[in-house]
């Protein structure tokens, strides 16, 4: 169902992106060149996949700080399997399996043992990073990369789209169906918004929380696979750059669209990537990017906070009426 309010939010979002893009374009005409837009979409693909996975965890109102560590482990597993001469499909699946295996540790700790969801993921993150050093004592792995075909994941095109973006779109469609058109999606939202009432409605809340963490871990590893494919090497710090943009994308999307969802996360990611790309073009040093992302994240959380977002919503509601 597409409500009038959603259309207004969508128009507001498009206007916002257009304004931001317009500003960058006036500063540097290259911003809207085909090459740059492709670069932007590639960047968005990596960040978007991690953010999509995180969306599930945020929907069940948990908090996952571990996925960057899990992603590093996934990257090293993938690199090691490729270096050992495994076929690409096995290597990629092995990387994803590392994510699927590690995510549930958080879920079990949070849902079954009722441990605090801030501390446990921090520990899991450390654990995953620790394991990721096993393969090569921390040096980056790139043997066999040219032969294996992993670089194709970055370079090839499908239906005119760059492979990474096509993968993001495919993942978004699957994610959309699961979260918004399936019974499991209902379960995820019900679990997050009122766990007791969900349990009393027969929803397997603990299983869904574990599943959310597993999805988050797997998507982080899929995201890192693309990053490994574009850089041509796997290293133990690969996952670190995922944390802030993923959180910022999910919260920014939720603030813009009223609640976390697949569409909201994609919108949030598009906005983050546009800004980061634009600042890079303006030759603002890359080390400021974390500061920019963090500023946006704080603004987004403030808007997502019920008190502030209540205010935000009444503003939108007023606009609804006048419109």
């Amino acid at each position: 169902m597409i409500s009038g309010r959603l259309i207004i939010r969508l128009l507001a979002f498009i206007a916002l992106v257009a304004v931001i893009a317009g500003l960058f374009w006036t500063q540097n005409a290259a911003f809207l060149s085909e090459g740059n837009i492709r670069a932007l979409m590639r960047h968005m693909s990596v960040q978007g996949l991690a953010a999509l996975g995180l969306t599930f965890v945020i929907v069940v109102r948990q908090f996952d700080l571990s996925f960057p560590g899990v992603a590093s482990l996934g990257a090293m597993t993938l690199g090691w399997l490729i270096a050992s001469g495994m076929p690409l499909s096995v290597a990629v699946c092995g990387g994803l399996a590392a994510g699927i295996a590690f995510g549930p540790v958080n879920g079990v700790a949070g849902a079954r043992l009722a441990l605090p969801d801030i501390v446990t993921p921090l520990a899991t993150r450390g654990l995953a990073i620790g394991f990721s050093y096993f393969y090569s004592n921390g040096t980056s792995i790139s043997q066999n990369f040219f032969m294996s075909g992993i670089l194709d994941l970055n370079d090839r095109k499908i239906l005119g789209l760059d492979m990474p973006f096509a993968i993001l779109m495919a993942a978004a469609i699957v994610g959309f169906v699961v979260l918004h058109a399936s019974r499991f999606g209902r379960g995820f939202y019900a679990t997050g918004e009122n766990r007791t009432s969900a349990r009393f409605s027969g929803i397997p809340t603990r299983t869904l929380i574990v599943a959310a963490f597993a999805i988050c871990g797997m998507m982080a590893c899929l995201s890192i696979t693309l990053l490994v494919a574009s850089s041509g090497a796997a290293n133990v710090t690969a996952g670190n750059q995922l944390l802030m943009p993923a959180f910022a994308a999910v919260y920014l999307g939720a603030a813009l669209f009223g609640r976390p969802s697949v569409g909201a996360t994609l919108a949030g990611t598009l906005m983050m990537s546009t800004m980061l790309n634009g600042f890079t073009l303006l030759a603002i040093p890359y080390y400021y990017s974390d500061a920019i992302v963090s500023t946006v994240l704080i603004a987004a959380i403030a808007l997502f906070d019920p008190r502030v977002s209540g205010l935000f919503r009444t503003l939108v509601a007023k606009k609804d009426k006048t419109a």
Partner: protein
């Protein structure tokens, strides 16, 4: 108005509009010194709006307010407090980890407040005890509020509201909604002491019998207007029917006729069911075609019993039989699967997803039916939800509205619609009409009767009249143990004394 003494509060011609809705339309309301004045009306009649204007939460659009002869504007909660208006909310926000005494003086810990003044714990305890000693009640103010029974918390909240010595008007918003019959007595004795000290009390309640117990006068609101103000004496002498004043029609609270059927199949049977420290030796059989009523005060174990039947609380001994077979549920999901649906006592925290809409909530307990191969059947879900909304008479019938936007009675109707969508064989209703106005109550009772035609219905409540009025066979639970066995012949007074004193007199 009512009091022989002076008028402490006079509100005249009060107007308040929200968008197109006239929440209050030319309302007059007067309060005598030392008067207990009950404020009555169905949900949405305007009583909360009046209270919010008086306590400075809303600003009025028109009219005047005089307190003790002086005109006030009451533009903010602070202004209201300074004018002597003290409010105790329906669910007082106390700090669970602090003691009762610390809660009373929260924000006023020090007699001479400064940035670095130390919190004087023994001083606070002494001041709190001094406040309490003015009342003929004794509670332990040194206990953590989280460990206190509901009535003690209510008393702490009242003392907190009265911590400033200037309070002249005390507003109590449904203070008895979470109290047992016995606990009510302490609250009422506290109110009497306040009254004797000249403090006027505005008392909001849904329980009409309390008006005659504690109030001097009452005002009935309907559709944003003051439709009647009477002294309780007048009402007694002239036999004025308050339910008739509250409702547009002449109909008060009605219970549907009892079932004549006594030989329906036994669907759910409890045999000597016990859960340590909660309830013991509970036996009953719930039959298709009738309503079984269990009356028990808060804390008597009735809520836990309902959860044991629903697989949430694990019983230590005894058996549950469903259609003749012994069952043991490990989770609510298993109980639902077996055909049991619980309409929980706390619908906001246990029954509904408040930020989601009617369709979401209606279908949540039966996602298997709501989907095909895991994919939601949006069109069908909406159609079914619309049909069920019509069946339970949801007002307004807006399927896209979040549950938060409905009144208590209509939220409860959505929980019932959710149960109907589940198509269960046993429906357990716990406190089905707490916070529900009279109009919706009658509807909920008739729905329960209708459901009982095809399923076994069990109603569990701390409202004796409700259990006796709606159920065919009744039994009381007292301190965890059943008094007697479910019987059609139990009278209302027998049931009441069984549930309150543990013996069936009369």
């Amino acid at each position: 108005m009512a009091g022989q003494t002076g008028t402490i509060l006079a509100m005249r011609g009060i107007q308040k509009r929200f968008g197109d809705v006239n929440a209050l339309d030319d309302v007059d309301f007067c309060l005598g010194e030392g008067e207990v004045h009950a404020l009555l009306g169905v949900n949405g009649a305007g009583k909360s709006t009046l209270i919010k204007i008086l306590s400075g939460v809303y600003s009025k659009d028109g009219g005047t307010i005089e307190i003790a002869g002086k005109a006030y504007d009451l533009g903010s909660p602070r202004a209201a407090i300074e004018a002597g208006v003290a409010v105790v909310q329906q669910h007082p926000e106390l700090v669970g980890d602090l003691t009762g005494a610390e809660n009373i003086f929260l924000g006023h810990e020090s007699a001479k407040p400064g940035l670095f003044s130390r919190i004087d714990r023994s001083g606070i305890a002494a001041r709190a005890q001094a406040m309490l000693s003015r009342f003929p009640i004794d509670i332990d103010l040194g206990r953590r509020v989280a460990d206190m029974p509901a009535v003690d918390r209510e008393i702490v909240a009242i003392l907190h509201a009265l911590r400033l010595e200037n309070a002249r008007i005390l507003i109590l918003d449904e203070p008895t909604s979470t109290l047992t019959e016995r606990e009510k007595a302490s609250l009422f004795s506290m109110m009497k002491t306040l009254k004797a000290a000249g403090i006027a009390i505005i008392y909001i309640t849904h329980r009409l019998e309390e008006v005659f117990e504690i109030a001097d006068a009452f005002t009935v609101f309907r559709g944003g207007r003051n439709v009647a103000t009477h002294t309780v004496k007048e009402a007694r002498e002239k036999k004025i029917s308050i339910p008739n004043l509250m409702l547009d029609s002449d109909k008060g609270l009605t219970f549907p006729p009892r079932s004549q059927k006594t030989d329906g199949d036994i669907v759910l049977e409890a045999k000597n069911l016990s859960a340590e420290g909660l309830f013991r030796n509970v036996s009953f059989a719930a039959r298709k075609g009738e309503i079984l009523g269990i009356f028990g005060l808060v804390g008597s174990g009735v809520d836990e019993l309902s959860k044991a039947l629903f697989g949430v609380v694990a019983p230590n001994s005894g058996e549950i039989h469903l259609k003749g077979r012994a069952v043991r549920f490990r989770s609510a999901a298993q109980a639902l699967q077996a055909g049991i649906f619980l309409v929980p006592g706390d619908r906001r925290s246990e029954g509904l997803t408040m930020d989601e809409d009617v369709v979401f909530n209606t279908t949540l307990a039966n996602l298997g039916r709501a989907s095909l191969g895991g994919i939601l059947r949006f069109g069908d879900n909406r159609k079914q939800a619309a049909a069920l909304a019509a069946k339970v008479d949801l007002q307004p019938p807006k399927l896209d509205r979040a549950l938060r936007g409905f009144s208590g009675g209509n939220q409860q109707k959505v929980v019932i619609a959710k149960g109907l969508y589940r198509q269960a064989e046993v429906y357990i209703f716990v406190e089905p009409t707490v916070g529900v106005d009279i109009g919706a109550r009658s509807k909920i009772y008739s729905l329960m009767r209708e459901i009982s035609r095809d399923a076994a219905v069990i109603v569990i409540s701390s409202d004796c009249d409700e259990v006796h009025g709606v159920a065919d066979r009744t039994v009381a639970l007292y301190k965890g143990a059943p008094i007697g066995a479910p019987d059609r012949a139990t009278t209302r007074d027998q049931l009441l004394s069984a549930g309150i004193m543990g013996e069936m007199t009369a």
